[in-house]
């Protein structure tokens, strides 16, 4: 065991550091900020689902917000109408959404990339109006208010023992989200490393070749859709927990777009990508909203318009610049930088040992 720890590659240590960081830092930031980070983690979970679909199995979805909505409403209805404990409803909502996603994946099989994008986009567009219909079940435009979050006594005591302060409901929600994120990211990591993940990547890189190698194309593609929707469903359900209230307007088209932006910006087909993407997708709009009004150089007579238009402009500009300079996402940029650094270090080592460096690069 000790031997294994000692020989673990550096990225495992990075994982340990990140996990400890996310476990520890709600104790040093305000309860409000912990709530914000919980929302970022929720996005990260949904983006991980999208990443499994888009990054690993090569199918595009512009409508994952709709699956989040389904999960959130499943939980809310179970908790509100059938008086179930909300925490119990989260996995149920995930499974239900996963099944819906699986079913959606069947007709999706027949569509090529672009058509699938448009079909899922339409799903995202139409979801809010669909939710409004069965008023008795979903509360229509009014939405559903959820019972306030109760922090379990055990968690309260533990938290007080460790930090000396009382646990707020935001902090509790954060830790619930964190636990789910941890498990789901770990599952995703295992999924992509093993048989199913290999099959999905093979399909993504070439369906004909994958089929020729005996991979069940339809099976794995719908499976990817199902798993992906399961992640989105859990994220939606957690979103209900975090906000305490859901309505059709909680899940606009822009949510689906935000998820896709997060997935691409973080880095597709990577495990840390969705985490970075979630943080980015959650905080960039907020930061650009806050950054613009604080700028003092803007003339006062147009400040009102700038405050209104500024965040959109900032968001758009940052997004475009990021894509220009990191076309493969943040993870892609980091990997490329790491590789270059390593090459340079190796080159230096070669010089010291008196070896000739390899042929001059000509490209």
């Amino acid at each position: 065991m000790l031997q294994r720890i000692r020989t673990a590659p550096p990225r495992y240590w990075l994982v340990v550091v990140v996990v400890l960081f996310f476990a520890g830092f709600p104790t040093v930031i305000s309860s409000f900020q912990a709530g914000q980070w919980a929302l970022a983690l929720i996005l990260a979970i949904a983006i991980m689902g999208l990443n499994i679909l888009v990054g690993y199995s090569g199918q595009l979805s512009l409508g994952h917000g709709a699956f989040m909505a389904f999960g959130a409403y499943a939980s809310a209805i179970l908790a509100h109408r059938y008086k179930m404990d909300y925490l119990v409803t989260i996995p149920i909502a995930g499974l239900l959404t996963g099944m819906v996603g699986f079913l959606f994946g069947v007709p999706a099989l027949r569509l090529s990339a672009l058509y699938l994008a448009l079909a899922t986009f339409a799903l995202a567009v139409v979801m809010p109006s669909l939710i409004k219909r069965p008023v008795g079940l979903t509360g229509g435009v009014q939405g559903i208010s959820l019972p306030p979050v109760v922090v379990p006594q055990l968690a309260k005591d533990g938290f007080t023992m460790l930090t000396g302060s009382a646990m707020t409901s935001d902090q509790w929600v954060y830790y619930v989200t964190f636990a789910y994120a941890l498990v789901l990211f770990w599952l995703a990591w295992n999924l992509v490393r093993h048989r199913a993940g290999r099959a999905m990547r093979a399909i993504r890189d070439g369906e004909v070749a994958a089929a020729a190698s005996g991979i069940n194309i339809s099976g794995y593609k719908t499976l990817a859709f199902g798993i992906s929707a399961l992640y989105a469903g859990i994220a939606g359900s957690l979103l209900g927990l975090a906000t305490g209230y859901i309505s059709p307007d909680t899940f606009p088209v822009s949510l689906s777009i935000q998820l896709l932006v997060g997935a691409v910006v973080g880095g597709l087909a990577s495990i840390p990508g969705p985490l970075l993407g979630g943080i980015f997708a959650y905080f960039l709009p907020i930061e650009s909203n806050q950054w613009v009004p604080t700028q003092t150089w803007i003339p006062s007579q147009i400040v009102a318009t700038v405050v209104k238009a500024g965040p959109a402009v900032t968001y758009g500009v940052v997004l475009i610049l990021l894509m220009i300079f990191a076309p493969n996402g943040i993870v892609g940029l980091a990997t490329a930088g790491y590789n270059r650094l390593r090459r340079r270090l190796r080159g230096a080592a070669d010089r010291e040992s008196g070896h000739m460096p390899p042929d001059p690069q000509t490209v």
């Binding site: 090459r343 390899p358 042929d359 690069q361 000509t362 490209v363």
Partner: protein
Amino acid sequence: MSALLELEDVRCGYGPTSVLHGVSLAVPEGGIVSLLGANGAGKTTTLRAITGGLRWLGEIRFAGRSLRRMHTEDIVGVGIAHVPEGRGILTELTVDENLKLGAHRRKDGATAVRKDYDRVFEYFPVLRERRNLSASTLSGGEQQMLAIARAMLMQPRLMLLDEPSLGLAPLVVRSIFEIIRTFNQADHVAVLLVEQNARLALEMSTDAYVLEVGRVAVKGASAELKGNESVRRSYLGY
């Protein structure tokens, strides 16, 4: 005969891996030169370097003019037609539209182009029949014919052919090679031919170069190489 195309100590590669380690060769005006060698020797890379598909060190001259820093579009414009690996057929377009693209930069008038069309259809009658069909419906051999016909319509001074025989039936290959030779003689167009089928290529060409891992291993007159038992054994494998 002065050289139409000259490569001098050309080095290039993809990313950190270098493929060509100093290739020098020359194609005379109106001549047919074959470029032979095993898979991965750098034949396709040489052609791609010539038409600006990747950056290189050394010197490439066409008709006495350096091709350094020129874009593919402009290199093509000065008279080099490149039939790439995989034929470069635009499958969304019809056969006719593909041919039109070949002729679209010509400035010698519609009559001249029409005359060339007729000639090309004489070489490849099947293309006339399929004129209005989508290029994706053509068979492999027909696609190869389309690619060569399109290159002919570009009115080049030099044609680069990347394995025209790949995946085709021997009979089809024969007829395509015949047509290339006829075209070469009729229009005095030089050809640089990359081939796996060394026997056929040597029959057709006047000179030949054999590449081995990015370097010219053997060069000489085709007839000589064909007769040289040891070269044939060690490099050409037949």
